[in-house]
Structures are given as C-alpha cells and as structure tokens.
Amino acid sequence: MSDTKVKRPDRTVEEIESVVIRFAGDSGDGMQLTGTQFSNTAAFVGNDISTLPDFPAEIRAPAGSLPGVSAFQLNFSSVDILTPGDEPDVLVAMNPAALKTNLSDLKRNGRLIINTDAFTPMNLRKAGYETNPLEDGTIKDYQVIEIPITSSNAQALKEVDLPKKAIDRSKNFWALGLLFWLYDRPLEPTIKWVTDKFGKNEVLVEANVTALKAGFAYADASELFTAHYRVERAVIEPGTYRKITGNEAIVLGAVAASILAKKQLVYASYPITPASDILHMLSHYRHMDIRTVQAEDEIAAMGAVLGASFAGALAMTGTSGPGLALKAEAMSLALMTELPCVVVDIQRAGPSTGMPTKTEQGDLLQAMFGRNSDSPVAIVAPATPSDCFEMTIDAFRLAVRGMVPTILLSDGYLGNGAEPWKLPNVEDLEPIVIKHPTEPNNGGYLPYLRDKETLARPWAIPGTPDLEHRIGGLEKADKTGNVSYDPENHQRMTDLRHEKVQRLQQIIPLQEVEGEETGDLLVIGWGGTYGAIRTAVRRARRDGRKVSHAHLRYLNPFPANVKEVLSGFKRVLIPELNNGQLLMLIRAEFLVDAVGYNKVYGQPFKVSELVAKIDELC
C-alpha cells in the first residue's frame, strides 16, 4: 500500500475536539457511502463517532429535485460523544437542492463546501431557486469554499477507461479525499474498502481510488485551506470495536440469543420501513439454521411466530408502527396462550403511514395498551444502537422466563444510526436457560401449572410423548388450561397474567442514575433519545445545575426502584419524541407532577433545546 501515501503538506495542523460534518447531495451522488466511509475511517483511527443518515422518502426522486436529496451527518471526536451533533460544522453540498434543504441547519459561520459545477440553471430551477444562491447573498454568513468538484474529478480521471457518467459517479470519492485532507485522516481504509468491494472490476477500483487521491491532492495543492485540522483519538476504553447500527445489533442479538439458548431462531416478518433490514440481514444466516419467513402480511408473520414458539423455537418478528397495530390480535393470543416471543417495533413517524423514513417514539402506549382487554406484555427499549444487541438478548430472556410476548421498541434513528461498539467478552454473555418438560407434571400434564417463583407456565413442545395438550384464545382454567367461563377463574387468570409480568422485576436490573441521587431535577428518558439527553444533562451539570439523568430501558415492568429514584428530586422532566407517553405512565403510576418536553419533528432532539429546557426548570 505504499503507493497510497501522499506527501503531507507543510501546512499548519490545528487540534480540535470534535467536528460535525454533513454530506448532502442528490440520491444518485452516493452521500450515504461517503458518510459511511468517513465515519469508518474516523472510528478506525480511534475517534468516537455517531452518525445520522437521512434518506429521501422516494426510491429515486428526479435527479436534482428537493425530495431527491440524501444526507449523512457524522460527529467524530476526541472525547466521548453520544449524538451525531445538533448542527453541522461543515456542510458539503453537492447540488443546489442539497444546499436548499440543508443550509439552515449549518452552524453560523460554518464551513460550506460547494460543488459549483452542479449549480446550473436547470438544477437551480429544480431546487426552486429563483436566483443563484452563490451570488445573491444566501450564503454570506458562512465560510464558503466553492469548488468545481465534478469537473475537477473528470479532469483527474481523464485517463480512466469509463464513460463520462461512470466517471462522474466517483466524484463523491473526490470530495471524500478533500475532506480527508482537511481533517487529516488516512486514505488507506477507504482504498482497502474500494479494493475489496470492486476487486473484480479493476477500472472501477482505479476510478474511485484515483478520485479519492485527486481530491486529497487538490486540497493539498490549492490554497483553499489555510490549515488542516486534527481530531485526536478519543480516550476510549480499550477493547475490540466495531461500528454498528441498531438494526444490525438486533440481528446480532437475535443470532446470539439463539446460540445462548442453543435453539433454532425463526424470524417471520413482512417488509416495512425502517424494519426491513432486519429481515434482509437475518436471511444471510441460513448456515446457522436461522429460518426467515417473508410472510404475506404482518398478521401472518405474528401467527407464524406463535406457531414457531408453540413448536419450541425462539421466535421473533419485526415491524414498524402500522404493522404493530396489525399484530395486536395475534399478540393478544400469544399472551393468552403464554407463549414466549419477541416483537420488534422500529418506530417511525405517524399516525397512519405518516413519514415512514422519519423517526419518532410514538408507539409506547400502543405497545402497552393496543390490544383488547387487560393484556400485559413485557416491553424493553434499547438506548443506543449498540444497546440493541443486549436488549434483544434480554427481550428473549424475559420472554422465556415469563412465558410472555416481549416488545422491543427501537426507532428509525437507532435503527439506521451508527456508533462504535466495544464488543462484549463472549464469556460474559449468560446462557439463556430453557427447560422443556419431558415428564408429566401432575400425573397427567397440566399446561397451566405455574412455576412458584416466576409464575410462568411450563413450555412442553409437540413431539414430546405424553405431554399432549391443547391451548387457545378462550379463557383458560387455572392449571388444566381447559376452556373456562368460571367468573373467579377469569379474575385469577387476569391477575396471574399481570403479576407474572411484574415478577420479571426479579431479573430486571435496578434503574441507574447518572449524577447525584437527589437534586433539583431528574430527567427521565427512554429509547433512542439517550445520547441527546445524556449530553444535555452533562452539559447542564457542567454549568452547575443539580440535574441527573435516568434512562429507562425496561418499560414494562419498570425496574423495582423507580419510585425511590423519583423521590430524590424536586422536579421531573420527561423529554420524548411524542406527545407525552411515558409521561402519562409515570404520572399515573407514581403521581409525580412530571412535565414533558415533547417534540414530533420526525427528528432526534437537539442537545441545545434540551439544555434550554433543563435551564428553565432548574
């Protein structure tokens, strides 16, 4: 790889703590790839990173149009970071539409790198610009760096034997090279990736590598930048890391659960944004005997999960909000028949079809109550992309311990966002112990004779001699499981179903608090808002506020000490990306006058708005 070394220019190198970059361009411009490569490289050299992809809603919106803009934001840092950053320090705008939809987010006086080649009259029109923003003062408040990226790239690649269209498609690598120079990152990881990816197609390798180096060289040679910047490696815990998105972590968690339980995994699902990738990725594990089923709809997927669970498999389904609604009736059957399974909901903005590519935390109450009659299930919510791994395993743990369906609430932000993940020591992962009875439990077999401690019923599976039994959705008689219309039995079974879920507290860790156990304000969050809330609370604490943060990862049942945690604080703030759902549960259960900070923008919280809210309440 010696040929990849580029002469390091003799320019000042400034140290900075962290940078937020947003790459924005047309869907055809490869911005997701560019952003991913930059994050990978940053992670690889030891920065902490956090990313936020922003896909267009259309498959292929017309080139150059506003709905066709695709963006990728990343935050890389020498300190511990938890969010992709409120506002970009740098915006790379590959065309007018990208400028139009992203400029207002750029930090005041931020760096704005513009591909001037794309600012043609036609593109300006498509972006709805009446006058040229490069000339009419639109961008006067920023450090503008105008570069003819398309043509510079074409120039650099003129020897490459590819049609113009293909040449132009590599301009994102040119831009990436430029940014690598500016932030003093090595080219090697990207070159290796290109070589691995396009290995068989040498011209493509040549094109992309040449583009990358050309961008780098251009930055080096031109006088556009007076300095370049270095973000030191973060002081992070030693260990082996990999970058991971929430959806990837769910996949790994599910496969790990299958290994830990020594059990086959069945995943049945119907494609839906933003959950489909779980199906896609799990279907690559046939060699682990993982059986993915693309069902005819969400109801069928839930039905198949029930069947698989009855037959003794670890069974999981994944969907998003509207799909969860469809699964409600079959989930109710799951809890009546007390069959363990995991239902993953990658929440998206609603109601109805809503904004499928945007994030939201709108399904907590649906998960709690979206079924007929009193129908308690367990609910968990990972806090970060990598936390999805542990929580998926935990979801299975709760499900099989309590013989109860368990809902895992992730969201579009966690699902698609990436962070570095310190890989766990595999020896530390506790086995999931499952016992299927093989002997009669009471002379005959009583399918609803419960475990004294957990109240779970036994899980005897078809194929086991002498334990034949029938289950179903009609109310069951205690112990025998026969159909029963007895009034007292119905009360008892209703209570048991409730108590059984409550007893999962036996293995749910106590709620942790960051900060003091007492103070002026406790901020409670759940799910994907972890990074933003934690960062905001830390910032407020640095400013001297007496504020602490508790992030709930177990939502039903709550950890046993939540009441105690609440009692230490004068006020309670619950920020959520919905209209106040956890807020309602906390107020009802603990009768504390908690207040909400609620936002439904289809976007994650900004740290700054949370800090402002904390300031207001402290």
């Binding site: 198949a304 498999a313 009736e329 059957l333 179903g472």
Partner: protein, 340 residues
C-alpha cells in the same frame, strides 16, 4: 428431517380421544368428521405426540379440543399462519388444520391461499356448511346468492366463492372434496390427504342442522344422489347415474353430460387425471347441479418440493459452504478494530 414413521406403537381411536366433552349441537355433521379423523390418524404410523391440530374460530374450529394430540385453537382466520410457523420450526411434525367456510374463506382467505402456494406440508380440512355457525347464522362466502340469513333478511347479494377453484388457483398440489355423511369416501380422502407430501386441501360438505339444515340434500339426498353426484377417480372415466348410464364428456368447448350408449361411448368420456394441468381439475371442481352432477374425490394430486424441504435444502447448502458461527465469530468480524 427424521422419519415420521419410525418405531410407532399400535394406536387406536381411543388414543386420539381427549377427555373434553364434545360440544357441538346434537346432530351436527362435525361429529362424523371427528370420528373419521380419529379413526384415520392412528393408522398412519405416526407417533401420537407428533400430531398437531390447529384451528381458527368457528364451531368446526373447536376440533382440536377433542383430539388427544397437541392442539392450538387460534384466532379467526389465522390458523394457516400458525400452522406455517409450527411446520417451519419443526418439519418433523404432522400438522393438521381444521377450519370453516367463514374462517378459511372470509377473514382467512389470504392466509389460506398463501399457505397453499407455498406448498407447506399441512393438511387442511375445510368444513363447509355454507353458513356461520358459531355466530349463529349469518351467510358465508360459500352461501348461495339470495340466501336469507340473519344478516341478509332480503337475501345475500354476493356471488359465492368455490373453495376448490380457490385452492386450485392458489396452486395447491392436492385438492379434494368429500362429504361428512359418506363415511367410506371421507375416510379414503383423509388417507389420501395424509399420504400427500405438501399442502393438502380437503373441502368437506358438512351439515349444520341448526342454521343451514339439509344444505346439501339437493344433490346428496338418498333419492337424487346417483343422478346428481359423480365420484371422480384417477384414471377412470367420469360415470354416474342410477344405472351408471351417464357420463361427462369434453366437447371441445365445455363439459357436457351424455348418456353412454345414447350418442356417446364410454371411450368418449373424460378420463380423470389428478396430475393434469390445472384446468381439468378446475373444470370438474366447478360442476354444480342442475347443469352437472357435483363431483367428489381428488381433483388434483401432484408432487412438488415443499416449502420446508426447500428451506432445509438452503440450510444444508449454506452449512456446507460456511462454518457455523460461534458467539465470537459472530461478533468479532473483519470490520472490527482494536483500541489499546
């Protein structure tokens, strides 16, 4: 997949009778079907514990409670999805599905079609009484047009669905029809279905003596039966009639009823072929009185890889090409890096 038939003790009907009191209305056709199923399954050489009976909701769907096997009384219309999950997780089980005309063709129509097209190895028994029994007498998708029921006091306006056509259009590999009261035919049909590898669909005309009594008498009545029904058998010409004098012929454009000896020869008659391309069974399945006799028997029986076989094959192929992951290899993939 291990062999279902390995080392089985001799079983009898009693082994398959659960301790639950049977709760259909006295006189309901469901009793006869239950009795025949309990008679057939012990003869299949499959250990009792490997049977799973799955059902939806309806009178017919109470069936699993009466079978002393593993059983799952699910929710309305969704039994095919649950049966699919069971079979995907454990292809070694013998999975039977009991459903009604409303359960299978109204709320559950889509799941039925998709189970059939996947050719997943489950046996589907559709108890067709042309009415909603459990909810006390509304018309169903198989009720004849104009039927007056609780929900259609002036007569229903929908055209009925034909279960056999629906199953055939869904690419089912085994499609048959039989009658609750014809014990011999019912038994034989159940045996054929059990022997089939893949989805087997059996429509069973079933009398609901409470809400739709004698719905099938118009063709199966003692006096009219010979002239209004035809039993189809693979490789045999279609003949019927009290003197066995009638037959069915293809006239180039459509089927027609002819009298053998009177303008038609036995050799002119349509010879039933279960493996024919789909149209022939489709034709026969749609025959209805008065234009034609109503056919019972096996309309189609072909072999095709089952869903679970194909999945098993993929698993084998994948295993052959790639070591199973350990927890370590699962997590510590190529894309990781070290921080010291």
């Amino acid at each position: 997949m291990s062999d279902l038939k390995s080392a089985t003790p001799v079983l009898t009907k009693k082994d398959f009778t659960s301790d639950q009191e049977v709760r259909w209305c006295p006189g309901c056709g469901d009793y006869a079907i239950l009795a025949q199923v309990q008679k057939v399954v012990p003869t299949l050489g499959i250990p009792k514990e490997k049977f799973v009976f799955v059902s939806g909701i309806g009178c017919s769907s109470r069936f699993p409670y009466y079978m002393n096997t593993y059983g799952f009384h699910t929710i309305h219309g969704r039994a095919p999805t649950v049966a699919t999950g069971i079979k995907v997780a454990n292809p070694d089980l013998s999975v039977w599905l009991v459903t009604g005309d409303g359960d299978a063709l109204s709320i559950g129509g889509n799941h039925l079609i998709h189970a059939l097209r996947r050719n997943i190895d489950i046996k589907i028994l559709l108890f067709n009484n042309r009415i909603y029994g459990l909810t006390k007498g509304q018309y169903s998708p198989t009720s004849e047009q104009g039927k007056r029921t609780k929900s259609t006091p002036m007569g229903s306006v929908d055209y009925p669905l034909h279960p056999v056509s629906t199953a055939l259009a869904a690419e089912a590999t085994f499609v048959a029809r039989t009658i609750d009261t014809d014990t011999k035919h019912l038994t034989a049909t159940l045996e054929r279905a059990a022997a089939h590898k893949g989805s087997a669909f059996v429509e069973i005309f079933q009398n609901c003596n409470i809400f739709n009594d004698k719905a099938f008498e118009y063709f199966k009545g003692k006096d009219v039966k010979a002239d209004r029904m035809v039993e189809i058998e693979h490789g045999r010409p279609l003949r019927f009639g009290s003197e066995n004098e009638k037959g069915i012929r293809w006239n180039g454009k459509s089927l027609e009823v002819v009298t053998v000896g009177d303008g038609a020869e036995e050799s002119d008659l349509l010879v039933h072929d279960e493996q024919a391309s789909l149209h022939a069974p489709f034709l026969l399945g749609r025959m209805d009185y008065p234009a034609f006799p109503i056919a019972i028997g096996v309309f189609r029986a072909i072999e095709r890889a089952t869903y679970e076989n194909l999945v098993d094959q993929q698993v084998e192929t994948a295993k052959a090409s790639r070591e199973p992951d350990t927890l370590r290899s699962l997590l510590y993939s190529a894309d990781s890096w070290e921080v010291e």
